[in-house]
């Protein structure tokens, strides 16, 4: 039994779905962030797996770009969380409902 692309893709789908679940169910902004990172990683996994399958190096390049964007997003996102925390002493996103219509 060899490992085929199916395995990788199913693993990535599972990780992605778990990440979505984490975003939906957790109220801690930090944990939500980690879930988002998880989702990004799962997408990277599909990129690399398909790169291998199709013989295109571009898949790996795309994964690198996703990493860069993710890194940028993490720095800014964490800075925002700290800024909010300084003001509110809380990382509960449910309390951040100023935009309520």
């Amino acid at each position: 039994m060899t490992v085929t692309i199916t395995w990788y893709l199913l693993l990535a789908a599972a990780l992605f779905s778990i990440g979505v679940g984490g975003v939906l169910i957790r109220r801690n902004a930090l944990v939500m962030f980690m879930s988002i990172e998880l989702m990004l990683n799962s997408v990277n996994l599909t990129f690399v797996a398909l790169s291998k399958e199709l013989g295109l190096i571009e898949g790996q390049v795309a994964a690198l770009f996703v990493m860069v964007v993710a890194a940028a997003e993490v720095t800014v996102g964490l800075a925002i969380i700290i800024a909010i925390f300084r003001r509110r002493v809380s990382a509960n996103v449910d309390e951040l409902a100023e935009m309520k219509g």
């Binding site: 990440g19 984490g22 939906l24 990277n44 291998k52 399958e53 013989g55 390049v61 993710a70 800014v76």
Partner: protein, 176 residues
């Protein structure tokens, strides 16, 4: 065969880590779950012959990003577990439905790939060495690469701005 065993072990680790992120009460445990998941994915990259991406994955994610997360957790307070109370049951059910539905639908959508996916998976000659990746990165994708440079710079500036200004209003004059 060894490849299959390695895959199964690290897939299991990744899934456990992922569930730990979502389920752990303490954000530190979540972070450790994330760390293990990322490390497992790095192993997957090695299995897929994407060596350079694997290295970067370890350095950037397992190294830099995770450090950042842990640092922030320390800053906010380790001893404050997720004290926001348990999630509402309805939310749990909904989340479960959505997650499972998402997984099912992605699997469904991707079935074409694994139907055709032959046992002789992959292109053996494709090696994600630094040379190969950088040929592509600096050949075809130079402009995009430069754009990411801009993006990172802007992100850095934005982070500094967020940390610096709005801290204490009366300090602003001194800052300026």
């Amino acid at each position: 065969m060894a490849e299959t065993i390695v895959f199964i072990i690290f897939a299991a680790v990744a899934l456990v880590g992922a569930i730990a992120i979502v389920a752990a009460k303490n954000p530190v445990y979540s972070a450790i779950g994330l760390l293990s998941t990322m490390f497992s994915i790095a192993v997957m990259y090695v299995l897929l012959d994407a060596h350079f991406v694997a290295i970067v994955q370890v350095i950037v994610y397992a190294g830099a990003v995770m450090t950042l997360f842990l640092f922030v957790i320390m800053l906010i307070g380790v001893d404050k577990p997720d004290a926001y109370g348990p999630a509402v049951p309805a939310q749990r059910i909904m989340t479960a439905v959505v997650s499972v539905g998402l997984f099912a639908s992605i699997a469904l959508a991707g079935r074409a790939a694994w139907v055709t996916g032959s046992d002789a998976f992959g292109t053996p000659n494709l090696n994600g060495t630094i040379e190969n990746v950088s040929d592509e990165l600096f050949g075809t994708w130079t402009v995009v690469f430069l754009a990411t440079v801009m993006l990172l710079t802007i992100a850095a500036v934005g982070t500094i701005a967020l940390a610096y200004f709005g801290h204490e209003v009366e300090d602003e004059e001194a800052v300026l």
